[in-house]
Subunit: 413 residues, 2 copies
């Protein structure tokens, strides 16, 4: 007898997370074991609140087009379940909702917090004797999941950052003789520098930027930084910098949180880029421009990596196959078989090895001076930004019907 | 007998300025009146310093590929010639360089400052009895040139802003239930709100953002702004704001003013988004994210408008034809014949009508509450973002040979 499936999106979204959603829904349709796929409205909150979107009411065309749709189409959330000891009631509620809607499969599309949630739900369902197979589907622009070679969502951000760095560098190169000498691009990455690191691929294009990459893994040294900027401008005429939002000083304090005031006495408000710009202004008197890509980088479906989109789709598909094969408490992860040519496969990994673990840039990826990436890093990053970017006309910027399943339980809270 | 031509790029570059360069060089080759095209290295500075790039040394393939190359390939500059009375020496030097290299045509690719420069050079060459035909070629992302319906460079920025606004809005929509409620995108536009205004086209896509557009033409009222944000979040769950860098308070002071000034004496702006974010934080306690697109928006060849690129090419071509037909002190401008279907032609306009004039958004484009765009504005903007975006693989991110013409004169300064 078929059991229904619950699918939810969790945490910060990516430009390809809906490709995974599309794969789960389409693959489940083919399965003799899975009935309907209910999507949580706003992630796991949708399960707690019994707000389930019936994906079977959407057209096949719409589900297929999700492959090319930025954002989290069913809504995501930042909501971390407490430990089972601390909040058994919440876990019981989830099981109650799953039971009410005959749900036997739980697919949770997120990062390491979400892997932890999926693991806990797998444990509690076991404890409560409710048959539930829990599969986490990897997704994070931060690329910081353990075990997997890379994370769906990351390759597209990398492609965005590489392309934007080349384009902005060509702009600065044109202007530098009588205007802007320094350009700073702030990218995501609070604790790990994968995104900033990937910008090294832009160095293959003229004019060879970025000249400086700032990573959370390398403690920010103001003197060394300013000296490198000065030298670069002297030698090259201009300097392009890509900075992780999460760079920290030697005491471990985020640079973006430091107290500083601009020339007018306004306190500088968030943002590593404006702070670095202020430094370059005040200490080196070099004209500069800065950009903060923020959500633009992780929602840029118009510039996604073909490899990334394919992997996002494939992990969704494999998640369903793993569930149908009886697996529980696992995540389909990407295993690299070779970099050149790029070959990869998807294998199953236990959530116990992934939950709550944060993977930083390996030391061997960072050059000795701390401002660049090694050859090994470039070999790692290159294939992830490959593959055809989809044509703009194929991108789906629409909403679906989002028809809700009738509630059967009392309201939650 | 053939005369050589001088071509230079001026001011902030665009993602399609090199399409105009490509057209000038290729069209000049066809002309029986024009010899070589010398490009100024770093704009007009290249003429003053006698640093002339011999474009005839570049391959035809490279010149053709300039159509798809962001930045200003020959280098641009922010250097404003003083009035003839103030600095006759500089004008005489230009004429001297032109004479030394048998230059009879002056093509200056820029905005209203550059139109002014072209006009002055046309006047001084006349006064000094040196035969020189001066044609300004329109270029500015700001879209603030008089007489022309639109400016090459603008349509591509508009397309970037529209696409980015849709994508980021889908991201915020996914996150708003338990995380980000307000997203602010800062775009260029120092005195005119054309770029921010164009974001209204994103409203045709789900989720209907932006909800608030902030323009330099409308005095920023903190109370009205906060109340609009609050109402939007209450009604809609989240609020997306597109803000011009040049918004001002009721006393005319820029909201984000810094002390530095560029070569034209304009204040350098930046940081409206973080200031608005701070307001939203402190007054409304709403979680927010902000992005500053800066150079990314004007160098994004990967997302350029096909119409814009075509127009950039055509104004370059017409500039050469006007010169060959004996015109002087003019600019090829775009005349709109109809919006739906979009039909346009290029006609000649005198520089006297364009030099130093700044065209703001017409009052009829702005909704009564000052936070949106009217139907008339949408009808204006829509065709400018149309046309196929070029495939990434066609984009040229390379440098050319940039072979310099041998100097014949003493060094300048």
């Amino acid at each position: 007898m078929k059991k229904n499936a619950f699918y939810a999106q969790s945490g910060g979204v990516t430009s390809v997370i809906n490709a995974s959603a599309s794969a789960v829904i389409l693959e489940a349709k083919k399965s003799s074991k899975i009935g309907k796929v209910y999507a949580g409205k706003n992630g796991i909150l949708g399960a707690l609140r019994e707000e389930l979107i019936d994906t079977s009411k959407e057209s096949k065309k719409f589900i297929e087009s999700l492959k090319y749709r930025p954002g989290g189409v069913f809504g995501s959330c930042r909501y971390k379940l407490k430990s089972i000891e601390e909040n058994l009631k919440e876990y019981k509620r989830l099981i109650e909702v799953f039971q009410a809607h005959d749900i036997g499969y739980f697919f949770y599309n997120g990062g390491n917090d979400s892997a932890d949630t999926a693991l806990k739900i797998s444990q509690i369902s076991n404890k409560l004797n409710y048959p539930l197979q829990c599969i986490a589907i990897p997704k994070t622009v931060d690329n910081d999941l353990a075990v997997t070679d890379c994370c769906p969502g990351f390759g597209s951000v990398a492609k965005y950052v590489v392309t934007s760095t080349i384009e902005a560098a060509l702009d600065v190169e044109s202007m530098h003789e009588s205007s802007t000498k320094v350009f700073i691009l702030e990218v995501m990455g609070r604790h790990a520098g994968w995104i900033a690191g990937s910008s090294c691929l832009a160095q293959d294009s003229h004019p060879g930027a970025p000249h400086i990459i700032l990573l959370p893994e390398v403690s920010f040294n103001q003197k060394k930084f300013l000296s490198k900027v000065k030298d670069t401008v002297k030698k090259n005429g201009f300097c392009v910098i890509v900075a992780s939002e999460g760079i920290k000083d030697s005491t471990g304090k985020f640079i973006a949180e430091s107290e500083s005031k601009d020339a007018f006495g306004h306190s500088q408000l968030g943002g590593v880029a404006p702070r670095l710009a202020d430094l370059v202004n005040s200490k080196l008197k070099l004209k500069n421009h800065w950009a903060v890509a923020d959500y633009l980088q992780r929602s840029a479906s118009h510039l996604s990596s073909g490899v990334d989109r394919t992997q996002a789709y494939e992990v969704g598909k494999k998640a369903v196959q793993f569930a149908a094969n009886g697996q529980n408490g696992v995540m389909p992860i990407i295993k690299r078989k070779s970099s050149k040519p790029y070959r990869w496969e998807i294998v199953s990994a236990p959530l116990t090895k992934i939950a709550n673990v944060e993977k930083k840039l390996p030391a061997g990826f960072i050059t000795k001076d701390g401002f660049g990436m090694t050859k090994r890093a470039r070999r790692y990053f290159q294939p992830l930004v490959e593959g055809k970017t989809d044509e703009l006309k194929n991108i789906n910027y629409q909403a679906g019907k989002m028809e809700m399943v009738a509630k059967k339980l009392k309201a939650w809270r």
